[in-house]
């Protein structure tokens, strides 16, 4: 039903013939996929296949070796720097470790993007920061420094900062890695709520199976050996219909598609 509505216009995010490389070493070749508005796309793949690298390309941290990413039909890397920076202002990025600025309190961490791009007063910014912190379950931690809270809390504060400006696209780099199952579930709920509430498009890099099935509308699978994208479909469909041995093993924790010795 959703697909019928969207077919009129081109999807807001399109990755076309993207090649990724470090130095001269190709990591992934010829990646093509698109993400619809308000969709949750999961980037899957085994360790070291370039999931996080793909995210770094999409958020503007690493220039592709070839190809481009189109946001609302505008080229992201082949356009001008100003254009790219304007686009990046509508992104929220949550990093693996939280990546909070260590010299600032949590409230200041969230306020910094607000300070740069909004005309809010100090008092209003403080209110916004408190609201975002309470959304991730950290109400009352406004004046703590990142070094004073636990790793899981840093991750959640990182999410609060990523959603400070109510971005159009939110990127999550392994949000549930290293979290206990309950925090992990809470995080999944939060991601769904952000999508439903803010209408944000969400791209998640993860290999947490429970999360993948709980949140993903669509997924792509990167393969380190073939060095390209080997599947692009909702994970449940992949589980039922994919004939690729690697994908089956991944989605079933190795129970299917492999001969047990």
């Amino acid at each position: 039903m959703k697909t019928n509505m969207i077919t009129q216009e081109k999807p807001p995010i399109q990755v076309e013939h993207l090649d990724m490389a470090y130095g001269g070493m190709i990591v992934q070749k010829d990646i093509n996929f698109s993400v619809k508005k308000s969709e949750i796309l999961v980037i899957m793949g085994d360790s070291g296949c370039g999931k996080s690298t793909l995210m770094r390309h999409m958020v503007g941290l690493k220039k592709p070796a070839a190809g481009d990413i189109f946001y609302n039909n505008e080229p992201f890397w082949n356009g001008s720097l100003t254009q790219r920076e304007n686009r990046m202002r509508h992104f929220g990025v949550m990093y693996q470790s939280g990546a909070l600025w260590s010299s600032m309190t949590l409230a200041e961490n969230i306020s910094l993007p607000l300070q740069e791009y909004t005309a809010l007063t100090d008092k209003q910014m403080k209110e916004v920061a408190s609201l975002k912190l309470s959304l991730v379950g950290l109400a009352g931690y406004e004046d703590f420094y990142p070094s004073e809270i636990s790793g899981g809390m840093c991750k959640r504060a990182g999410i609060a900062r990523a959603i400070a400006l109510d971005p159009e696209v939110i990127f999550f780099d392994e949000p549930s890695a290293g979290l206990d199952p309950i925090s992990s579930k809470r995080l999944d709920d939060l991601i769904l709520a952000l999508r439903d509430g803010l209408g944000a498009t969400i791209i998640v890099v993860t290999h947490e199976l429970a999360s993948i099935f709980a949140i993903a509308d669509n997924s792509i699978f990167l393969d380190a050996e073939r060095k390209t994208l080997i599947a692009n479909a909702p994970p449940k469909e992949l589980l039922q219909h994919s004939t690729d041995e690697k994908i089956q093993r991944f989605l079933t924790r190795g129970e299917k598609g492999v001969q047990q010795p």
Partner: protein
């Protein structure tokens, strides 16, 4: 049945079948037998087809036993006889199954060591690449500075004040000790030579000119490289490791504006003050030595000092120190921002910041002296 030590026995069931009977304690720490034992044993058994195990009498075992069996297995593969694991206990077998589940990775052969010509070419290319990156960095700082002067400050004033404090007040004790001792050393060297000519009073000239023009700016630059330059590199490097710099970039806040500029401004503002302070303390050190060893009165020493140096000498030192401060801050920030993504890389960035910082300072000092000589200042 000895449970304290491993025992191994080979029982020949038939020409093609050998049973290895194991007993006792089979732990890695017990100096286990080498699998060579088996090779020795089978040398005179050309018809061997199969090996089985009897492990019922093993009292205690750990991965030492597993390693032994894996190695026997490899020998079996090489000599093409069958190693049957059915005689092992269930726990042993399940661990061995896990160990064999994923085939060993075939490593690509290591790249051959490049010839001298290739590595020289490679280093030259690398040097050029580094130089280009450094120029881009300096260009970015210049841009950022123009932002600053047009009033579009992006950094936190709090950060700037913190760095100013860090490279001024908190640096005073070390600058005091080093500059005092430098003045003292200059006076000592001068005293011995000049006294031979009966020109002891000229110690004041030596110390004053030596400190203001050369030693104070140079020594303070070196202190600040080790203190501030290194800490800049370590701070920015650990922010790089923690993805904090990426986070700034994706928030479209330039790390140069936000992190590098306040650090450079703080050092460039404060280092001339430290230099003047060093001048003063150094001259004081020289005066104390003159009083103690040459019996020159403080008044005479001060009078000689004021005739020896002019404002130009002091100004030369101050201008130098500003230049040095800029170089030290740039070296520290550059190495920090270009740090790799491991804690090891932070250490390397810090070392590089100090080494390149001192190198830049000394080279700049030499160039500065040559220019001053040409201009006859």
């Amino acid at each position: 049945m000895n449970s304290s030590r491993w025992q191994i026995d080979f029982v020949q069931q038939s020409p093609g079948l050998l049973t290895i009977v194991m007993a006792g304690q089979w732990c890695a720490a017990d100096n286990l037998p080498s699998p060579e034992l088996l090779i020795e044993k089978i040398r005179n058994l050309p018809d061997l087809k199969k090996i089985t195990f009897d492990t019922e009498k093993i009292s205690h075992w750990d991965s030492g036993l597993l390693v032994f069996i894996v190695m026997l297995n490899k020998i079996g593969q090489k000599k093409s006889f069958d190693v049957n694991l059915n005689g092992l206990s269930k726990n042993m077998r399940s661990l061995l199954t896990l160990a064999n589940a994923v085939p060993e990775r075939k490593h690509a052969p290591p790249a051959p060591t490049p010839s001298l010509l290739v590595s020289v070419g490679h280093s030259t290319k690398q040097f050029y690449f580094e130089f280009e990156k450094m120029m881009v960095f300096i260009g970015a700082i210049t841009f950022s500075l123009s932002h600053f002067f047009r009033g579009k400050v992006k950094f936190l004033w709090r950060d700037l004040f913190y760095f100013i404090q860090d490279c001024s007040v908190t640096s005073l004790p070390i600058v005091l000790i080093i500059s005092f001792l430098m003045g003292l050393i200059l006076a000592f060297i001068g005293a011995i030579q000049l006294q031979a000519f009966g020109a002891g009073i000229y110690v004041a000239n030596l110390v004053a000119i030596g400190m203001t023009r050369e030693m104070s700016p140079l020594m303070i630059a070196i202190i600040m490289t080790g203190r501030t330059g290194a800490s800049y590199a370590a701070q920015l490097g650990s922010m790089q490791v923690n993805e904090e710099i990426d986070a700034l970039q994706t928030t479209v806040i330039s790390p140069i504006d936000f992190l590098v500029l306040p650090r450079i401004i703080a050092l460039v503002l404060m280092i001339p003050l430290l230099c003047l302070y060093g001048d003063f303390v150094g001259i004081l050190g020289g005066m104390i030595i003159s009083k103690a060893f040459l019996h020159i009165s403080a008044a005479a020493y001060i009078h000689q000092t004021t005739t020896a140096i002019s404002l130009i000498d002091v100004a030369v030192g101050v201008v130098k120190s500003i230049l040095f401060g800029l170089l030290v801050a740039i070296a520290g920030c550059y190495q920090g921002l270009n740090c790799g993504r491991s804690s090891d890389a932070v250490g390397r960035a810090t070392t590089k910041a100090v080494v390149t910082g001192i190198l830049y300072v000394i080279v700049a000092d030499a160039i500065f002296e040559i220019i001053l000589n040409i201009l006859k200042i």
